[in-house]
């Protein structure tokens, strides 16, 4: 009964991941491990491929090389049927909520239940109301997605993500663009969901303060690889120069303020510069 959800086997293992988008190299030999039943946060600047990493874990994208295991299964090698079976055991919270706009809040949360189970309507109703109650939006069951604020949409999406009682939830930028109250609500919900349901949670974000506060493990990525990883304290204490700039929010450092280009002086004075204008 008191089974510890935290097991020795990791929930997700990423090994030597290489992924390109067109000619741009997004991941260059990235490796990381997500322990089961813990909150792991992947942080990094915008455009480093954090969302891409979630899509690779969820099997929506395939790596160019390297391997990703989720729950002991190598995602890229799964047949469609087995991939879909795996996805039933993982929920994903999209940055925008990604609620289905032709359905109200209730129907959105009921959607995975209706698609994957043959439960009687009364039971679906009770389950949906329980999930909505958990995110504090039972009273909003009849609203349409267009009537929800950004934070409410994300809470409904969380209720939908936990509708099938998954083992793991992937959170894509859960704090982006939220006011402090809503951000507090989402932080609490992530923590509570993780603890009460014993889930593995993977967050990708660049909101340092919130992420450091709730994470059991932090992984900092940039330039296609892991820069630092460990508990929040370990990362803070042993941070590389790059990580110090990122965690401290310093405008200049290893990541330069100026986008690389030719010399400013040359650009202002030489003929090529004049001709271009």
């Amino acid at each position: 009964m008191s089974k510890d959800p935290v097991s020795a086997t990791p929930h997700v293992v990423v090994e030597d991941l290489v992924f390109r988008r067109g000619r741009k190299l997004i991941f260059d030999g990235l490796s990381l491990t997500v322990p089961r039943g813990r909150v792991t946060t992947v942080m990094g600047p915008s455009g480093t491929g954090k969302t891409t990493l979630l899509r690779l874990i969820g099997g929506q994208l395939r790596p160019d090389s390297g391997r990703i295991w989720v729950d002991g299964e190598e995602v890229a090698r799964l047949s469609n049927r087995r991939l879909y079976a795996l996805r039933k055991r993982m929920g994903m919270l999209f940055q925008t909520g990604a609620l289905l706009t032709d359905m109200n809040v209730f129907e959105n949360v009921a959607f995975p239940l209706r698609e994957h189970t043959r439960l009687p309507e009364e039971l679906i109703r009770n389950l949906v109301l329980m999930k909505l109650e958990a995110v504090g939006l039972r009273g909003a069951a009849d609203l349409s997605p267009a009537q929800l604020s950004g934070g409410m949409a994300r809470r409904v999406a969380l209720a939908r993500a936990i509708a099938l009682d998954p083992d793991m939830i992937l959170y894509d930028e859960p704090f982006a663009g939220l006011d402090p109250i809503t951000m507090g609500q989402i932080v609490t919900l992530i923590q509570r969901t993780n603890k009460t349901l014993g889930l593995t949670s993977v967050l990708v974000t660049h909101d340092v303060v919130e992420a450091m506060a709730i994470s059991d493990q932090v992984v900092l990525i940039a330039e296609g690889r892991v820069m630092d990883s460990g508990t929040a304290e370990e990362v803070r204490a042993g941070a590389s120069e790059w990580s110090q700039q990122f965690l401290g929010g310093h405008p200049d450092g290893p990541v330069p303020f100026h986008y690389p280009g030719s010399s400013y002086r040359d650009d202002l004075l030489n003929e090529a510069g004049r001709d271009r204008d």
Binding site: R55, G58, Y84, A85, R87, P112, E115, R160
Partner: protein, 260 residues
């Protein structure tokens, strides 16, 4: 010159790539067609959205096209003392050509653009990705019912267009210009052949329905997930559908009627 040639090559490669993606997409949609029966309520909802909601514009257009045909036909025929043949002229023009072609063009503008915008917006707002992550196949849940609904609705709308057009011709020819009512319909019956005329129109409308819906659903699926991308995809649906319909009409007419 080199730049022109390389631009031509790039453009050719681009369209080949689009055709490749569109063919793969169509193949997967056709494989998912069992969902049309299994999820019949979804399919019905789409038939309502794509077909029933297009009825008004199709009927009004059919009426006016029929009225114009009646008027123009009468003006020409009366010079040869053959005004009684008006029914045949109106029916043949509608059933063979104008019914399928004009309906397909209107269908692309009304239902096709709506399909593209809807699917494109679902892609932009990550609804399709969310479905995939909820282990729900968008090909079965979204694309297959919409594709089938368009494919089924188009021939029915074309038939409706022709029927209303015949009545439009009747209103002008018989009601306003004094052609005999009995002659209007008997001439129509005499010159319209079921296989050669009606079925050729039906075949055309089935082909147009297939192609226009394929283009519309694919353009939504392939749209760049930005507001500009959706706008471009919607325009592409109307333009490419119109060109495809007119081009295919020529080919089908040649195959069915002509010793070309």
């Amino acid at each position: 010159m080199i730049e022109f040639l390389s631009g031509l090559g790039r453009s050719g490669l681009h369209w080949l790539a689009v055709l490749g993606r569109a063919s793969t997409f169509l193949f997967r949609v056709l494989l998912a067609q069992d969902a049309v029966v299994r999820r019949f309520r979804l399919t019905l909802a789409e038939i309502y959205s794509v077909g029933v909601r297009s009825m008004l514009i199709i009927m009004v257009s059919g009426l006016f096209v029929g009225m114009v045909l009646g008027y123009q036909g009468y003006i020409t025929l009366v010079n040869f003392g053959a005004a009684e043949a008006l029914g045949g002229v109106v029916a043949l023009s509608l059933v063979r050509e104008l019914g399928p072609v004009v309906t397909a063009l209107l269908f692309a503008g009304r239902a096709g653009s709506a399909l593209t915008a809807e699917i494109g917006l679902m892609k932009t707002t990550e609804q399709l990705s969310a479905m995939e992550m909820m282990a729900v196949d968008p090909y079965r849940r979204v694309f297959a019912p919409r594709f089938f609904a368009g494919f089924l609705s188009m021939p029915l709308l074309a038939a409706l267009f022709s029927a209303v057009g015949v009545m439009g011709g009747y209103i002008v020819g018989v009601g306003l210009l004094g052609v005999d009512s009995g002659s209007y319909f008997s001439q129509m019956q005499a010159v319209t052949d079921w296989h050669e005329d009606v079925m050729s129109g039906v075949i055309k409308s089935i082909v147009f329905g297939f192609v226009v819906t394929w283009i519309a659903v694919f353009q939504g699926f392939d749209a760049e997930p930005t507001s500009e991308g959706i706008s471009r995809a919607t325009t592409q649906t109307v333009v490419v559908s119109a060109l495809a319909v007119l081009g295919l009409d020529f080919i089908l007419t040649g195959l069915m009627f002509g010793d070309m």
